[in-house]
């Protein structure tokens, strides 16, 4: 894969580059958001995935995020994995406002868990969606939708993993249960929350996120 990384810590950029090169990828690294935006202009060849930090020079706030949103509008098919010192629901909303295919948003520290990182990288590059569990937990804490309380605790866990962008197989793996059990939970959740039975994962993520983030109408508040 051709991977572009934007990361202002030279030490970490080096480490990631070496890791990914060893995995057989072609890696280009940049240390500022402006450089990446310049390198991936309208006429530039689109890489297989862009990995970017949020907090980067010059203001050390959300340059990376803004660059990601900008590049996604320029290259709608560009998969982007956003790494952040902290994850935050409103950043997520900004990032996932459009198409959620090929998008990832995870805590930067999780990069240290190399297997997880490579897994997330592969899923995003393959058009999947990866949302950090902390973001999902935040969304769940803020949701005002009624209906959540009708879910069993296990169904809530499954809903969270669905919102993280995991496939049924991955959920089964994570919860150490069989695939049929997960499928049963998913069907039950979608029925209870009145969501369409989506065939592909990214449409399911989108449906779940939209449902969770939807502002309540009158009388809907629990």
């Amino acid at each position: 894969m051709r991977i572009v990384i934007a990361e202002d810590s030279v030490l970490l950029l080096d480490g990631l580059t070496r890791l990914l090169v060893a995995e057989g990828h072609d890696v280009t690294g940049y240390t500022t958001a402006d450089e990446v935006v310049a390198a991936l202009g309208p006429s530039a060849a689109v890489p297989d995935i862009l990995v970017t930090d949020v907090r980067m020079p010059p203001s050390h706030t959300d340059e990376g995020l803004r660059a990601a949103v900008h590049l996604r509008s320029l290259h709608p098919r560009l998969p982007v994995l956003v790494l952040s010192q902290y994850v935050e629901q409103r950043y997520a909303r900004e990032l996932f406002a459009g198409d959620v295919r090929g998008l990832g948003y995870v805590l930067k520290d999780r990069v240290a868990d190399v297997d997880e990182f490579l897994d997330a990288l592969g899923r995003v590059a393959g058009g999947g969606t990866v949302i950090d569990p902390e973001v999902v937990a935040q969304i769940l804490a803020r949701t005002r939708r009624s209906g959540l309380e009708t879910l069993t605790p296990r169904e809530r866990d499954v809903l969270g993993l669905m919102a993280e962008g995991r496939s049924n197989a991955a959920i089964a793996d994570r919860l150490v249960v069989g695939l049929p059990a997960v499928e049963k939970h998913v069907t039950s959740i979608l029925t209870k929350l009145d969501l369409p039975q989506a065939a592909d994962d990214h449409r399911r993520v989108l449906a779940v996120l939209r449902w969770l983030e939807h502002e309540p109408t009158n009388g809907e508040r629990p």
């Binding site: 810590s9 030490l11 970490l12 080096d14 480490g15 990631l16 070496r18 890791l19 060893a22 995995e23 907090r55 706030t61 959300d62 010192q85 902290y86 994850v87 935050e88 629901q89 409103r90 950043y91 930067k108 520290d109 990069v111 240290a112 868990d113 190399v114 297997d115 990182f117 902390e134 973001v135 937990a137 935040q138 769940l140 804490a141 803020r142």
Partner: protein
């Protein structure tokens, strides 16, 4: 010499210089009482002093007035009047020594410059009062002197005469002895009472005319009180300002430490984790090396997690970058107890100062920790609003209650933090009925 009366206590004068008028025993012992004999000695010395003063004053004033027309009279008048001040001091000292009364000295207006100080002397009512005292005290002492010598003279004569008459064999005294002796004894008491009354009259005049004026003292006391109040007010303003600055500086320092840790140790650990992780993947052919690397990698990941928690406890970057609303979401997401965050108007929270937001954040963090650790709560709601000029945070759980902000506890530290911002901290935690913590912090703090 210690004075039996505290300065300025007018009511005590009667007991000290004229006890015969308030106490029957003192009345009975009046001719031999200390007050009477002090009064006699005062009368003798005072008469001389006042006579001299009277002469100086009358000669000085009369001469000055007659010379006003040739200008020289004015400085003479000033000098004469000015002399009344040391005289007043002398008189206060004399009364203190002779009658054991303490009369507070007045404050004279201080003027800078020759003309101004002359004018000050002429315009000072106290100095004129001293002059008036010379006249008043002169009259008092004169009347007292006449009465004491007449009554005292007849008393002594009435007691001595019968002895002399009996000794010399005189058979027909001009007044019958049965009348003369009781009359003389009565006059003895009259002399004592007149002496004490005169002392009292003199002390009262001195208090009014050579002591500090009651009105001037009240004005001065009020001025001093006002000055102290203004100083206290200034001090309070200064303390509030420095306290706010100190809180702000502490928050700023926390942010700096957070930034340093993030840019330094955290980044290095993440990079180390990546290195170890990739080394572990490569070393899969050597099981021993792989196990060692696996262990090291796990250690790094755990250290990283600990460091992350530590950094968040110092000052979460999300609070600096995205404000209280986002920071509360992050707290809720990490809480083991399900938390509902309710922020009806997120942009409004941005009106609160960073110190106020930081205080609210740390209160919420502590309350959520307590709800999970001690209260065994199953649900918590966090509500943040801006009410008037205050940032208002309410954290309510359904746990076992009974929480107290014991000294040295986390809640106690937060109460101090809130108090330092002039905020209020209300912990309502009845046993068995959940805990409700309400904190209000001024947005501007």
């Amino acid at each position: 010499m210690t004075s039996p009366t505290p300065p300025g206590s007018v009511s005590d004068d009667l007991r000290v210089v004229a006890p015969a008028f308030v106490d029957l025993r003192a009345l009975a012992a009046a001719p031999v009482s200390v007050a009477t004999w002090r009064g006699i000695s005062q009368l003798v010395i005072g008469s001389v002093v006042l006579l001299l003063a009277f002469l100086v004053l009358t000669v000085g004033v009369a001469t000055s007035l007659s010379l006003v027309i040739v200008v020289v009279g004015i400085p003479m008048l000033v000098a004469t009047l000015w002399l009344c001040r040391p005289f007043a001091e002398l008189e206060r000292a004399r009364l203190h020594a002779q009658l054991a009364v303490e009369i507070p000295a007045p404050r004279y207006p201080q003027r800078v410059g020759v003309w101004a100080s002359w004018g000050g002397v002429l315009a000072d009512s106290r100095t004129w009062a001293h002059a008036a005292y010379i006249l008043v005290a002169g009259v008092v002492l004169t009347v007292q002197g006449v009465l004491v010598s007449v009554a005292g003279g007849f008393a002594i004569g009435g007691l001595v005469y019968p002895v002399v008459a009996l000794a010399s064999g005189m058979s027909h005294p001009p007044i019958p002895l049965v009348l003369m002796v009781p009359g003389a004894v009565l006059l003895l008491w009259v002399t004592a009472l007149v002496t004490q009354a005169g002392s009292l009259a003199l002390v009262r005049s001195a208090r009014a005319l050579v002591g500090a004026s009651a009105r001037a003292e009240a004005v001065e006391a009020a001025r001093q009180a006002q000055l102290r109040a203004a100083q206290a007010e200034g001090r309070a303003v200064q303390l509030t300002e420095t306290r706010t600055a100190a809180v702000g500086a502490a928050d700023e320092e926390r942010r700096r430490i957070e930034r340093d840790l993030h840019d330094g140790a955290q980044q290095r650990l993440v990079a180390l984790g990546v290195e170890l992780g990739s080394a572990r993947r490569k070393a899969s052919s050597d099981p021993e090396a792989a196990a060692a690397l696996e262990h090291a990698h796990r250690e790094v990941k755990e250290t990283l997690a600990e460091l992350r928690d530590l950094v968040r406890g110092i000052h979460p970057a999300v609070l600096t970058d995205r404000g209280l609303d986002a920071a509360l979401s992050a707290l809720a997401a990490r809480s083991p107890v399900p938390v509902r965050v309710d922020v009806p108007d997120p942009p409004a929270l941005g009106r609160a100062s960073t110190s106020a937001q930081a205080a609210a954040y740390f209160v919420a963090a502590e309350a959520l920790t307590n709800a999970a650790k001690h209260a065994s709560a199953s649900a918590v709601t966090v509500t943040a609003t801006v009410a008037g000029q205050n940032l208002r945070l309410v954290i309510a759980d359904d746990g076992r209650g009974g929480a107290v902000a014991a000294p040295g506890s986390g809640l106690d530290g937060l109460r101090s933090r809130v108090a330092a911002l002039d905020g209020t901290f209300d912990l309502d935690s009845p046993a068995g009925a959940g805990t409700r913590l309400t904190v209000e912090v001024p947005c501007a703090s």
